[in-house]
């Protein structure tokens, strides 16, 4: 079995595009929150989200018509190209592209539905943008990858971690030489409206673990990690951000939207066991940390169950990025890799008073320097799809 290294990172996010800008954003506690412009927000009392602004698809997409790609596919291409360049990969060999997403091209689907509702013709390019499978295909086309294993993992808001896990297994088993893994999603009306209806959208900002938290902000973006066998990465002199130590997968098999504390705890234990790590060796948890009442208490309860009364510091990058759905755990995983490499803990921003029901140190508002050996990345999804990935420092 190969050990698995993270050697490249690519990011499109509301707090910065490119790994350097993203890392600076995490350190500074930058906020991606701004009024939503992706769809008509008339009739909603509030509509703040974390949109990517100033994205120039033409900069990244040169080998296919831009209009054939939905926004999530465009983000995917950009993040993948950045990740490959960051890794200094010239000849990827037998490759895998595995991307997670919640909505795929669902934003194009919404436009189709709207044209029908208003009695208009459907523009020909819209149906082409809908299938979620277009995300990795667009990447493969742009990178001119042939002989490539493409897949789209559609496990909602945990999809990024699922994709990283799949890449980890493929590299470990020697099925592929390089895996481009991560997740992408674009702002869409459906997610915003659904969470709004559930009163789970915060009117101003996302404040995970805070006693006055009011919910998520919907966001968008993409994160792609390059995974390679550790030996090969070392042999070619690649920069190694971190090692993927292992991961856990399970399913609540209980409620469609409410997370289950025992099941989430079990998923963390699976990840720790596989990684050969004991709870006391974990230096930081990047939580799913959506900022909803239910998520944060349940997730923290599970953390306390696994780690005891003094758990590692536990942060949520969603305080800065909003909930980027299928991209969320990929962007969080990239934050983990950067935290290990650069020796810092990204803060949980917008924080005033920690909810006693959470009972964790969320590193409020200011990044801190830290020597991190093992970092855990949590992801929970509607449907009870849990996935936890562990990253370790390569020394």
């Amino acid at each position: 079995m190969n050990r698995v290294a993270v050697t490249g990172l690519g990011v499109v996010s509301s707090i910065g595009t490119g790994v350097v800008e993203y890392a600076a954003g995490l350190r500074a506690g930058r906020s991606g929150a701004r009024p939503i412009s992706a769809f008509d927000t008339n009739g909603f009392a509030h509509s703040v989200g974390c949109e990517v602004v100033g994205f120039e698809p033409e900069r990244w997409i040169t080998r296919q018509p831009v209009e054939n790609l939905g926004r999530a596919a465009q983000f995917s291409v950009a993040a993948a190209r950045m990740a490959v360049a960051d890794a200094g990969l010239t000849n990827p060999g037998r490759a895998m592209v595995c991307l997670g997403t919640t909505d795929g091209g669902g934003d194009a689907g919404e436009r189709i539905a709207e044209h029908v509702v208003r009695g208009n013709d459907i523009p020909a390019e819209l149906p082409r943008r809908v299938p979620a499978a277009t995300l990795p295909i667009a990447v493969a086309r742009e990178l001119e990858l042939s002989d490539v294993d493409l897949s789209t993992v559609a496990t909602a808001c945990a999809a990024g971690n699922y994709a990283i896990g799949n890449g980890f297994d493929a590299i470990a088993a020697g099925d592929v030489d390089v895996a481009l893994c991560g997740g992408a999603d674009a702002m869409c009306r459906m997610t915003f409206t659904g969470f709004y209806r559930l009163r789970a959208i915060d009117p101003e900002c996302c404040r995970p673990f805070d006693v006055n938290r009011q919910g998520i902000l919907t966001g968008e973006g993409a994160g792609v990690l390059v995974l390679e066998p550790l030996d090969k990465a070392k042999a070619r002199g690649a920069r190694i951000y971190a090692e993927v130590l292992g991961y856990g997968l399970n399913c609540d098999a209980a409620h469609p939207v409410a997370p289950d504390q025992n099941s989430v705890a079990e998923c963390m234990r699976l990840a720790l066991d596989e990684s050969g790590v004991t709870p006391d060796q974990v230096d930081l948890i990047a939580a799913h940390g959506t900022g909803t009442k239910a998520n944060d208490t349940t997730e923290c309860g599970a953390i306390l169950d696994v780690f005891g009364a003094a758990p590692p510091r536990t942060v949520s990058v969603k305080s800065m990025l909003g909930h980027t759905m299928g991209a969320a755990s990929a962007l969080s995983a990239i934050a983990c890799a950067l935290a290990i490499k650069d020796g810092f803990i990204p803060p949980t921003t917008n924080h005033v008073e920690t909810d006693p029901a959470c009972g964790i140190d969320c590193v409020p508002n200011e990044a801190v320097d830290a020597d991190l050996r093992v970092v855990q990345n949590n992801a929970l999804a509607f449907g009870g799809n849990n996935s936890v990935v562990l990253f370790g420092r390569h020394s």
């Binding site: 927000t41 008339n42 009739g43 909603f44 997403t101 795929g104 669902g106 689907g109 919404e110 189709i112 539905a113 709207e114 029908v116 509702v117 459907i122 149906p127 809908v130 299938p131 979620a132 499978a133 295909i137 493969a140 086309r141 001119e144 990858l145 042939s146 002989d147 490539v148 294993d149 493409l150 897949s151 789209t152 993992v153 559609a154 496990t155 909602a156 699922y162 799949n166 297994d169 493929a170 470990a172 088993a173 009306r189 459906m190 409206t193 659904g194 209806r197 559930l198 997968l249 399970n250 399913c251 609540d252 098999a253 209980a254 469609p256 099941s263 999804a381 509607f382 449907g383 009870g384």
Partner: protein, 346 residues
Amino acid sequence: MTRVMISGWSALSPFGHGRTAFADGVRRGAPVALTSTKDDWAAAKARVVPDFDIVEQLGRKGTGSMDRASAFAVATLRALQRDEDGSVAANPRTGVVLGTTSGSTRTQFEFTRDSLTRRKPFFVNPAQMPFALMNSASAQCAMWHGLTGPNSTLAAGRTSMPAVLRYATRLLRTGRASSVFAGAVEEHSGARELLEHGQTLGEGCVLLFLQTAEAGNPAALAEVVASDTTFRDGDPRRALTMSLRRVGVPADEVWGLALSATEPELSETEDEATGEVLGQRAAFRPGRLIGDTGAVSGAFGLAALLAHAETDADARGRLAVATSVERDGTAGCVVLRLVGSARGER
């Protein structure tokens, strides 16, 4: 390498409910009659699963907002557990892996329509939301059947079967799952008609029960020898020949071939590619009988092979190949070694 075995399967198809209805239908070889359908999105003629009312099938609890695809999957999994008479036994590490194209397009479109047309844009049905997500069918399978193992959804469209089997095989070989319900599901609706290219659409669900070849596991119908996908931009023919060559199918050992494309041009491509690698041979084409079932098209090919093998002694010990192609240049194949007419062996 750990061997992965199929120890049972079931299907909901335009031929009817359950494995036997599908097996009888493909053996008879007559196309299912077209049904006129109409909803708020489009009118169409399609080959649909007959007599499938969600509440009749699953009861009222938890089904008020359920999409048809999720109901198909939950019902198919139930049938698989019942049909197989104890050989399909789940435990807490049993997983579910399902293929889809875009989930329930109809649920997504209805949710959007409600937001656009009601007095307030947020007067939507929140209970509908989990069913609008692509992971709904696999998550519902877990909820209804208490399956707490890895639960995953791959949006691979028409190449779902090889993609799902490759993923499920990884889960078994790494020990992440003790067994896996693996398959694909697709529902028909006017909303889905708006996204497709004018083929006669079908719908349904196929689920296989996968286990490793460990001692103590029940007798298997077939071994999954290979599952592979690849991509050649805009060249599905080349992609499929590459995939078949990579898995290395010895042509003289092949007993049966199932092709999945229904669109004439793509069907020709699939014929040419398989002919080039495996030689010209007769093939099962369930899509011509049940319509373009999207993500399930490859799984129905596999199910057709398993159904025909049941009644053909020549199949024993030989290979069955099911292929998948998509116009964009993704393609893949699944290769099974048929253990024999296992129905008789039990």
